[in-house]
């Protein structure tokens, strides 16, 4: 049998970086073919080539037996290749049926033929296994799983033969996830070809017929789902050599006194649920999770940028509530995952550093002196607090973001992705600053989606997946493999 689509030796280069180094890939009608790999392995580049988003690449694509070079996503759609993005493009105000037929409603004369549109929507949803959805109701009345359903139904009714799904379950509840996986199987039974991209290996092994593992822009293997295991997939994704470099032995620290930060059953809808956690002075706790697992949202909430819907936060025994100003006063410091969000790039370093402390530190001379002290502490290069932040390199900008919180050492430091996009040297410097802060008594929560960062600095490690803490490592040897395995795991709590 001919595959519906085949890629041979597809290569793509962005500037100096080779994102795809010669990929061979095929998917058959009636098959669910999963695509797994770490961030940066080349999944999204490959998917963008399949969907016509990237038109210039080397190698060839054969679709329905004919060579094909897509110029844009519209052309892909016309040929029956549909892509369901992670961020859905639905209109919550419109009805379910309107969303399914967006832009191509059946008409009678010049007006929309509502009766026919609703009838057809009902028919397609029934075929997809969702007969209970009322097609006249606004899509916004339904949970996210139905939004996804509407988008899939849209793809199916527009004649899609190949459907590419990018992390379709990352925002879904466990029940919705199960129903979606059933829907994906049903689509395959109806003869559609599905390319299914996901971090969640449990789901992948459950839904896919075959699994292709990418690493570093190369295809490492294509396996039958029934003949592989989660452990094998993780090993293939990370590569053998990785296991020797990226492991660390956790040494449990003697805990002095009471926890400085305690979370009891903290929840926020669509972000995290029932998080319990205690941080002790002097320790660096790594909070690892895949992107979208709720760890960044947890840090943000602790700093007062969003309100939890349930649960309690205690700082040094006292309940905490309110916005960032209150959090700062209680001794909580926060660095956001994107440094551009937290910095004033056109303003001088000293104004960036002094802003939270102006009630006791105002006036250029005093601010410059204080900024001079803390920027020397973090090793800012060049050590010029009067220079605008935008004139520094990325790593040094990050040092400015951290230096701000050295003016008055915090009780709790929430550092989200503090080393993102840095070279090894800068990374080590930043992690050394965190260690010095911990040694001075601060409890550091190091929030990251990079296992390497966590393993390089943490005294103990928590793993979050789909909004819950699913694993904790307190002592002994921890490897990157173990973290990824835990994060990609199922939704039950493990010790």
């Amino acid at each position: 049998m001919e595959p519906l689509l085949r890629l041979s030796q597809v290569k793509k280069r962005f500037g100096g970086i080779e994102a795809l180094k010669g990929i061979d890939f095929e998917v058959f009608a009636g098959e669910v073919h999963a695509l797994v790999g770490e961030n940066g392995a080349g999944k999204s580049t490959m998917m963008k080539i399949l969907a016509g988003v990237i038109p210039d690449y080397a190698g060839e694509m054969v679709y329905q037996g004919r060579p094909l070079r897509l110029k844009n996503p519209k052309e892909a759609l016309d040929l029956g290749i549909a892509m369901i993005h992670q961020e859905l493009s639905v209109m919550p105000e419109l009805s379910v049926a309107e969303n399914i037929f967006l832009g191509r409603q059946p008409t009678r004369g010049r007006v929309v033929d509502w009766r026919r549109m609703n009838a057809e929507a009902r028919r397609i949803l029934e075929a997809l296994g969702y007969p209970q959805v009322e097609v006249e109701r606004p899509l916004g009345d339904y949970p996210l799983g139905v939004h996804q359903l509407a988008e899939i139904a849209r793809a199916v009714t527009s004649g899609a033969e190949l459907i590419i799904m990018d992390e379709p379950t990352s925002a879904l509840s466990p029940m919705e996830t199960e129903r979606l996986l059933a829907l994906v199987r049903r689509l395959a039974e109806q003869g559609k070809a599905i390319v299914y991209i996901s971090h969640f290996l449990e789901e992948v092994t459950a839904v896919a017929d075959r699994i292709t593992v990418l690493r570093d822009g190369r295809k490492v293997a294509t396996l039958k789902a029934g003949e592989t295991s989660k452990a094998e997939l993780v090993r293939l994704m990370l590569g053998k050599e990785a296991r020797f470099f990226e492991r660390t032995a956790l040494v449990p620290r003697a805990r002095e006194g009471a926890p400085v930060l305690e979370l009891h059953g903290l929840s926020r809808p669509r972000a995290f649920a029932d998080v319990n956690l205690a941080l002790y002075p002097g320790e660096i706790v790594g909070l690892y999770g895949l992107i979208g697992s709720g760890h960044f949202e947890l840090a943000e909430t602790l700093f007062g940028l969003a309100r939890p819907s349930a649960g309690q936060v205690r700082v040094a025994g006292r309940p905490l509530s309110g916005g960032p100003r209150r959090a700062i006063r209680e001794g909580i410091a926060y660095v956001p995952p994107s440094r551009r969000t937290g910095l004033f790039l056109e303003k001088p370093v000293y104004q960036n550093v002094s802003l939270p402390w102006l009630d006791r530190l105002f006036g250029p001379a005093r601010e410059l002196a204080a900024a001079g002290r803390v920027t020397r502490e973090v090793g800012l290069k060049p050590p010029d607090p009067a220079r605008v932040v935008g004139a520094f390199s990325g790593g040094n900008q990050q040092k400015v973001a951290i230096a701000r919180w050295l003016i008055e050492p915090p009780k709790v430091f929430l550092a989200s992705e503090p080393t993102r996009g840095m070279d090894v040297g800068a990374k080590e410097e930043v992690l050394a600053i965190l260690r010095r802060m911990a040694d001075a008594g601060t409890a550091v929560l190091l929030v990251s989606s990079e296992p390497e960062t966590i393993l390089a600095a943490a005294d103990r490690v928590l793993v979050m997946a789909k909004g819950r803490i699913v694993a904790e490592f307190t002592s002994g040897e921890v490897t990157k493999e173990m973290l990824v395995h835990a994060a990609a795991g199922e939704l039950k709590k493990t010790a």
Partner: protein
Amino acid sequence: MADKPSRTSRLAERARELAPVWTLLALVVFFGVYSESFLTLENFGNILNQVALLAIMGTGITFVLLTAQIDLSVSYMATLAGVVAAYATAGHLPQPWPIVVALLVAAFLGWISGAATAYLGIPSFMSTLAMSLIASGLSLYLTRGRILFDLPPLSKTLGSGRIFGVKWLVIVAALTLLAGHLVLRYTRFGRYVYMTGANPKAAELAGVNTRRIVAAVMVIAAFTAGLAGVVGIGRLGSATPTAFDGMLIDAIGAVVLGGTSLFGGVGGIPQTVVGLLILGVLRNGLDQVSVNIYAKTLITGIILFAALIFNILFAGKKES
């Protein structure tokens, strides 16, 4: 994306800072050459007198623009404050209470539109546009369309009196600008205004209550507008329900001409002073050289538009 701003963008930064000054100098030289009466001390006094009311209003607008908001109600607020002061005077409210009440009314309405923007997220151009109708409507309602001639004596003094040969109006304007400058430059609040405009999210992350800052600058803008109205009726000699309505474009235009960024965080009172002088020199100079009087507005409009293009072009990098 480059981490370091390129050389050209730093040059552009300098150009943006200095362009208004060059514009002003060029206009002065131009009118000085083509008009004999332009470069005289007396005429300079005229120019100051002409822009004094705009300067009072422009002080508050500078605060608003620095936080990347806009206030389209200032001129109507000035009219209303003038009307309220005259109305209360006619109603025999003892002095100086008519003036106090007028300023409080303006500040209160400014707080309403400011709170609507800061806490409810209504864009400031919309909330202040609606507020301008309310202010205008109140002016009409209180006057029933008539002209009020009973003015607070203090308004008359400040609006048309002199001290040591200098007009009080110019002194009030200078003091308002100075107060604005001191607040922006030397207080914590002033720093919060700049930082909120430069990057509201980052300001929030540093513990700045950005909503309160936004509400506060709109109160300030309404207050200075009210002050302009209270003093302005003294200059006109009466309060009418549309007295200062036409000043809106000039007041905002002067601040923008001076180079205060429409995207917030960059600019200040010195820039506004330059902008006011550009507008004043232009208006005054066009009167002195033999330009078709019907072309005056057109020329002013073209120059303002050019300044806007300039402002956007050089602030464009902030959008990313």
